[in-house]
Symmetry: C2
Subunit: 427 residues, 2 copies
């Protein structure tokens, strides 16, 4: 990897990651602004802005944006997360200048036309409906709000009917002026690209971005608790959450190995115990979400109404057991999976660009693959057990259950499986 980084005069960071053997490029702008930058009234505004960027600029209407990129076989999309909003394109190499021109156009002079806003509001309301119709999607929004209640880190990214219904053109303009500043934005390209040319393009196209850095956000404050919604689903969808760690916490590598060994593949403890041995679930997995100043470790499982009865005990039991008996073989397997995932990701330009964005957000620099693999290699059995033990101390897990969940054990029964050793001994 021969990554080059230049900060141009207004503060925009330009990163190029050449993959000379390719005929195409992934190019995008990552903005350090997402749901956690919003006040309660602004809930969903980052996402609405992401949508509205495509709805016309001073030079192009929405249809022209779509037609220009697709006329050259390009693909333009965007996503909003809690800490970032990304606008990205996949494009053949000859058309990189066009992609940069369009990205710059939608990010520096969006029209936010009132009629378009009215229509896009309806589209976003449909998007909210679609998410709600997908229990194994919406459950993660609920988890986030249970883990981080009454604070920006817990808002649903899409907002809700009330907030989405309230946004006016001025709100978008004010929010953009406050958050879409050059110092909070990074133009990243992986694939068939040359750094000097990208810097030149950035200087030309993004010249009028306002100066300024990322705006401050409130700290993430984990609380935990539970939410159960008896909805008419076939499955009981259950997610368990525990306070995690920030992306730049040195323990993040141990956390990744831990979740992989717990529920990251077919040989993981949860897959073996919950699916292979007990046949309780089709989907069961663990994950580690990391933010700038915190994180969330979680486990998702989809199971039947009756099968839900024993689920929580098995999940807590596997967590306790991994914290005590994690062994060298399973840790080696988890590390091998994480390393090959890294190496295979390097073969895909879009995955590379996204990883660069994530590292810049987390560390303020791009990590060499060798640095990442060394850090993974350094994780040993005791580090994983230590991390697992720390999770077992959680005073207040987060638990969300949707569907036929009446047989799932109570929150307090589940929470009592965790917490200080003293309180567990006293049960």
């Amino acid at each position: 990897m021969d990554i080059e980084i230049t900060r141009i005069a207004n503060g925009l960071t330009v990163v190029t990651d050449p993959m000379p053997q390719l005929e195409s490029t992934a190019v995008g702008v990552w903005v350090d602004c997402g749901a956690r930058n919003e006040t309660r009234a602004q809930m969903g505004l980052s996402h609405m802005l992401e949508h509205m960027a495509f709805k016309g600029t001073a030079r192009r209407n929405a249809r022209q944006i779509a037609e220009e990129i697709e006329a050259v076989g390009g693909y333009l999309n965007a996503y909003t997360s809690r800490e970032q909003t990304a606008f990205h394109a996949r494009i053949l190499k000859a058309d990189v200048p066009l992609a940069v021109d369009i990205l710059a156009d939608i990010l520096t002079s969006p029209a936010f036309e009132a009629g378009e806003l009215e229509r896009e509001r309806q589209v976003v309301l449909q998007e909210i409906g679609q998410a709600r119709d997908t229990p194994d999607d919406i459950i993660f929004d609920h988890l986030q709000s249970v883990a981080f209640p009454d604070q920006p880190m817990g808002w649903p990214i899409l907002g809700d009917e009330d907030s989405v219904g309230s946004f006016a053109r001025e709100d978008l303009k004010t929010y953009m002026a406050a958050n879409y500043r050059a110092g909070a934005m990074t133009l990243i390209s992986s694939g068939a690209v040359e750094h000097a040319r990208m810097v030149e393009l950035a200087e030309e196209k993004f010249a009028n971005l306002p100066r300024g850095e990322s705006s401050e956000t409130l700290p993430a404050r984990y609380e935990g608790g539970d939410l159960r919604l008896s909805e008419p689903h076939e499955q009981a969808h259950v997610v368990y959450g525990f306070p995690g760690i920030a992306g730049n916490d040195p323990d993040i590598y141990a956390a990744q190995v831990y979740v992989t060994a717990l529920g990251g593949g077919m040989s993981s403890r949860l897959f073996q115990e919950v699916r292979e041995k007990r046949g309780l679930c089709y989907s069961v997995y663990a994950f580690a979400n990391a933010f700038r100043d915190g994180g969330l470790i979680g486990i998702y499982a989809g199971t039947g109404e009756d099968e839900a009865a024993g689920l929580s005990a098995v999940v807590a039991g596997e967590m306790a057991s991994l914290a005590e008996t994690a062994n060298a073989d399973e840790i080696a397997r988890a590390k091998a999976q994480l390393k090959s995932g890294l190496l295979m990701g390097l073969e895909r330009p879009a995955a590379r660009a996204e990883q660069i964005a994530s590292q810049l957000l987390t560390y303020g620099r791009v990590l060499a693959v060798s640095e990442l693999t060394e850090k993974l290699e350094a994780v040993d059995v005791s580090a994983v057990r230590r991390f697992g033990s720390r999770l077992m101390q959680a005073a207040m897990p987060a638990l969300v259950a949707l569907g036929p969940v009446n047989k799932l054990e109570t929150y307090s029964a589940f929470a009592n499986r965790f917490g200080a050793v003293g309180s567990r001994a006293a049960e």
Copy 2:
């Protein structure tokens, strides 16, 4: 692309597609057997066999299969479609022999142990529950059964509670003996591979596959009709289907350009009219599924209860309008999208292996990229209009609607927008 193909002594086809710049490989076995090979009582048996292949062999139990592949950072998975079942791995190049050994082991000497079958039955029932909890997934199973009723082409791939509940060990063994013959199977690898070495591995590991070719299947017989299920979803999920064409029909390229222009991207007619202009949907798109002897052209839309009222008229209107007024610009855009999709797919080993499998199934040979792009290039405005007009003649569209669908226009009102010109004129 320097693809090499060898048929080894027992009839197994070995295809290698070297990508010398890569450090990893996608390798898998594609079997010409899927849901359409099943009788009604066997509904879901192909998929159950796919699951049970991973549950132990003469040499390895289920846990060993998982542990061996994941110990080297590999990833093993499988899927069942209507005409094929695929077992595939992503693996670093040094471990390709291990992946081939495991694939051969699970495909030539699965144990189908009775206790494992009982547990896996529960897992598949959970998978069915999960699919039913995802309306924009399960709706395509319903579409298939409405389009191709009472015939293997219309079975749900997962089967149902009754069929899955009935499978015994003998059923798996008999079905495998009838369908998993060397002549019906292809070992495909894309990435860091050498053909001579793969042939050698195949000869060593797959030697005891039974000889024989693909088994016959009943012809696909399109009928159409409608199914509405008033379920408590947020959105009305609606899918419209029309008789399509086989993958080896020379019109398949016109069909692909047609669906791309109709609903394949942001600049497509449906996206512009349904989402951008009317704000009715978040998701709306068109697709062309092709089988060996037929196909299905479809449109999916997720919308609100009130918004559903006008949806069918708009969809039919856009189809009629595209058939009459398709223009050179939009056809050029659709072709550019399809071509760049092809070129970008070439950068991903798993996508390449899958495309090779699909071409071998459809054409009995691998097509050069230049041949595909030439065929796409040759599609002109009149070919697209012709294909669109053919769809407008459909006597019996297929229509499935799930959710709050009481305001959607009736099936007969929708069907009357199609059919012979005479009958339309007579309305």
